[in-house]
Symmetry: C2
Subunit: 359 residues, 2 copies
């Protein structure tokens, strides 16, 4: 039993309120873009994006309402916005001087390191601001929001530099259908969670690039799914290798030893599977696979739609190019990354040459 504040009333933050409310007191605070959602939840009890009734026990609030008591009493704060909302969430936490025991991150994304490896959000957040050094928990793994809100089973990963933080959050949120595994692998988890959106664009291009009488060809899709996981592993290890060991006083089981496992587990392989199955990154990929270009699609069919994988690619690009030039990364074993970046950086048609795969 804890007081949990979820920041962001979009589909993912709101869906998390369902398992959270099973044993806790939950306040769902909309971002400045969520006022209409909060109104509708107040009037009908139903979340318009999820098309699901939220638990009656939860409190809902708009961004502009005074949420002093909720923030002051929060044991856990969950940042559940999409990437452009992270800075708003951090300002709110600072403004109310919230000191949660755990700060959880559902938002997926990277922050450009210019010529160096990008940062994950947990690295980007100043731990002094939130007083949660080592107790920031990354959340990754397959989780379509509406399915979570409906109580359909899935399994996800929680990771924190202090394993106890991940375990504490698991104990608060785990239900019969929301199954949680924990680790100290937070940087790799966050990197994988962001990279899977990016890779999904190239994998999903295979839905349209090779048609058969039976529909889409499945061999190229499976081959690039496999390649995407291998490249997520390489890129996430590169991102992890750039992390200075943080200065944490009260570390309990502090470790990054299992850092390479995330790509081949729920945050990488598992989450890529569900992401390729549907959603905005996959939709963009299908357009690119049919020969369209990114800027055409963004001006037309997907006008105004945030595609997280494109943002991740933009944050990744300069560091990736520099790392390939200085030998930190081997471009030869990362052909899918290069093919997707060519669409994002140069608006080229998506082209994956299977003979570019290393022998």
């Amino acid at each position: 039993m804890a007081n949990i504040v979820i920041l962001g009333a979009g589909v993912m933050g709101s869906a998390l309120s369902v398992p959270a409310a099973a044993g806790n007191s939950v306040t769902l605070v909309g971002s400045p873009l969520d006022d209409a959602i909060i109104s509708e939840v107040r009037e009908t009890g139903r979340h318009p994006g999820l098309n699901v009734d939220l638990p009656q026990s939860i409190q809902v609030s708009t961004a502009s309402e005074q949420n002093t008591a909720a923030f002051e009493n929060a044991d856990v704060i969950v940042i559940g916005v999409s990437s452009p909302g992270v800075d708003w969430a951090l300002v709110e936490i600072a403004r109310y001087r919230a000191k949660p025991d755990v700060l959880a991150l559902v938002t997926k994304g990277l922050v450009s390191g210019a010529g160096a490896a990008p940062q994950t959000y947990a690295q980007y957040i100043d731990p002094q601001l939130t007083s949660t050094a080592g107790r920031i928990v990354g959340i990754g793994g397959p989780c379509i929001a509406r399915e979570l809100a409906l109580g359909i089973p899935t399994r996800v990963s929680f990771a924190a530099l202090q394993l106890s933080a991940a375990n504490d959050l698991r104990d608060l949120l785990q239900t019969e259908y929301y199954r949680v595994t924990t680790s100290t692998d937070i940087t790799a988890l966050e990197a994988c969670a962001a990279l899977k959106n990016f890779m999904c664009i190239g994998v999903s291009a295979m839905y349209t690039a090779y048609a058969t009488e039976e529909g889409h060809a499945k061999n190229p899709l499976a081959a690039l799914f496999n390649q995407a996981v291998l490249e997520i592993d390489l890129l996430s290890r590169w991102i992890v290798s750039g992390v200075a060991k943080p200065d944490v006083d009260d570390s309990d089981e502090f470790s990054q030893s299992n850092r390479t496992l995330s790509a081949f587990d729920l945050p990488g392989m598992g989450d890529l599977h569900v992401t390729v199955g549907g959603g905005r990154n996959s939709r963009l990929g299908k357009y690119l696979g049919s020969g369209r270009r990114l800027q055409q699609v963004q001006r037309n069919e997907m006008h105004g739609v945030t595609v997280e994988g494109v943002d991740t690619g933009r944050q990744l690009s300069a560091g990736f190019q520099a790392a390939c030039e200085n030998g930190e990364l081997d471009a030869h074993v990362l052909p899918l990354t290069a093919a997707i970046l060519a669409c994002i950086d140069q608006d080229l048609p998506f082209k994956f040459d299977f003979s570019s795969l290393p022998g």
Copy 2:
């Protein structure tokens, strides 16, 4: 340029003749069950199962025709039958005293070790019979036969105890669309290739076990896809651990050091992706997920249909139970294996309890 004999004119053996014929002399020999297929290919040039024209340069033959010259001149023999045909293929090779430089195995399956870990086919084949000790090549990775025959790209793995054997076969078969990576990981490759059919049954049950208004739920499918790969890794390592180091005289780059990689690469993860996407194992899984039992389905909708994953489960079962009892395997981390075996061994309804996933 080599003389290649492919044994088995089903869809997979026949599809391989397409890249094989690009630079080699190919003879496709039907099994005793393939006479009608061979007749139709002779008359029309078209393979009835693939619904694709085969290359005009290939020779085709029935099992009962005299194929002495083809076998005597064979540099490469490919066993392309389904598992019940392996013994026929081995008898043919022995009967013609064929001494190919490479014996390749496309067939996926395991051979029961009774109370011990099952064997893979490469272990089961007496190397003295074929004079190819160390030069048996396992083939794994995503490859729907019809797509291969259409020249749609994919990527597969070849493995042999002697890396040169895998590399030689790659040099003969690789084309622009049939991309090959090689390793010495043959036992793990064959184990993964068989286990993915078995695991596919449980993963595919998720297509029907949780319905939403939008169709099937995707979170449980992704969670069990992820779990299946983890369990393929554990089981394939168990199978590899039972392998005595074979007695090979002329080993060049002999190694089993990279044995754990197959589960998380083309023979496991990649091939499972394509298998869950369609085919007989997936079809059975969908029936089980909807509440039907194996024996019901085998008496009705899938009467007479060979489901390789069920055969693999039967070969696996006794050894798995014994290994869990004697501590070689930890049943706690293999809940999906246990759930699928309960359907096969006891005809129980398929039931996967997500709360059985290890923490």
